[in-house]
């Protein structure tokens, strides 16, 4: 993309109407272009004011719930290097929604592969459901190196992951994990020689898609306070070797 094109992106960026790749590229651009940064900050300030027209008081019981959850949620430390926007996940190799297109392609391959060994019927079903939902996206990239790993969780249910170094993608999907109390979330971690790194909080039936991390050892899921933690506060309910 040329600089002129980039400059036109301020509006779409401030409205959060780009995909992850474009956002990253634009934010790189902002680091080098001070006038663009000024404009971008003003645009975002402007966009935020649009929310004044749709205010709606939330159900009152949520207040106690949020305040109670905050009281038991550890806060992030202030010293991390700060990107232009606070909003990208802190680990650059974690991406989410926008990579679902890629996820669909990996899934096609995986479902075929997993079906081949029939013991994982629950997971296959879950994967098929997800795959069906993203079928339309269908920019299928074949991943001949895709590897699938599945493990039963200690509390029932299971975790399944698909690794493709060639596509630089890892997909994780939990199936049938028991529901948690409202102030708890399942959180996914990528474990390497240094220790666990927070990936994403799991949402029912939603796959998490990440970049492939060279040298990672495991994926693990723990139960954390609602919204997730910086470091695990409980032991893993399921842990899968990084393929």
């Amino acid at each position: 993309m040329t600089t002129a094109d980039q400059h036109l992106m301020t509006g779409a960026w401030a409205l959060n109407a780009t995909d992850d790749g474009e956002r990253t590229a634009f934010e790189e651009h902002l680091r080098e272009c001070e006038t663009c940064l000024t404009e971008a900050v003003e645009m975002r300030e402007t966009a935020a004011r649009l929310s004044m027209l749709v205010e709606l008081t939330p159900p009152p019981h949520l207040r106690d719930r949020v305040l109670a959850a905050a009281a038991t949620t550890r806060q992030d430390r202030p010293d991390s290097p700060r990107p232009v926007t606070e909003l990208r996940p802190r680990r650059p190799w974690i991406r989410r929604a926008a990579v679902l297109v890629a996820a669909a392609s990996v899934l096609g391959v995986v479902v075929a592969g997993v079906q081949h060994n029939m013991r994982l019927s629950g997971e296959v079903e879950a994967l098929q459901q997800v795959a069906a939902r993203y079928e339309q996206l269908n920019s299928l990239i074949s991943a001949p190196d895709a590897k699938t790993v599945s493990r039963k969780a200690s509390n029932g249910g299971s975790g399944i992951a698909v690794f493709s170094a060639a596509q630089n993608k890892v997909l994780f999907l939990a199936a049938d994990l028991p529901p948690l109390p409202p102030d708890r979330s399942y959180q996914l971690w990528v474990v390497d020689g240094v220790g666990p790194h927070p990936a994403d909080v799991l949402t029912d039936g939603q796959p998490v898609v990440m970049d492939f991390v060279e040298g990672a050892e495991k994926l693990a899921v723990t139960v954390e306070p609602l919204g997730g933690s910086d470091l695990p506060t409980t032991g893993p309910v399921v842990s899968l070797p990084y393929a």
Binding site: L15, T46, M52, L53, E55, L56, R63, A97, Q136
Partner: protein
Amino acid sequence: MPELVRPRAPRSVEALTEQVTPDLLGQVARSDEAAFARLYDLMAARVFGLVRRVLRDEAQSEEVFQEVMLEVWRKASRYDPSLGSPTTWIMTITHRRAVDRVRSAQTTADREVQAAQREVARPFDEVSESADTRFEQRQVRRCLSTLTPLQRESIGLAYYQGYTYPEVASLLGIALGTVKTRMRDGLIRLRDCMGVTA
């Protein structure tokens, strides 16, 4: 203490225009739970309203709302005043979370069908049902009325419904470059009309 969440209409003008200050956010960053309760009372309606507007589903909205508020609590120390006001920081997190959820929950095709079913060309019509009780709200609406229809539709579809600019282009039947330009021109016009400065 649920009674502290009051409907917004009867409150005084002063209370309605109070903003989260960098100081308050700083107290939150130092784990001050009372400060966080204060922030909650100032921001809850704005955060929940936007989430609900983008997601529409009540249960999902409540879930995402709670995630946003906790993210604000967790990340308060990462707030950088050079990148905007605390309110904007919070609303940016809110919009991001809501849009992430709506984009991961639905395929583009689903969303396009839904959009076609709801007259997409009028994203502001539903908005206009609410009464504007505050000066700032009236100002936003007045400034919106100065935009061209294409600018207004492009901005509304992206902000209130979570569409990406290629989706907006396809919904409105216009070129990608045109959408990007309309979004930018429109926001610039709004910015100047509302007197926003960095």
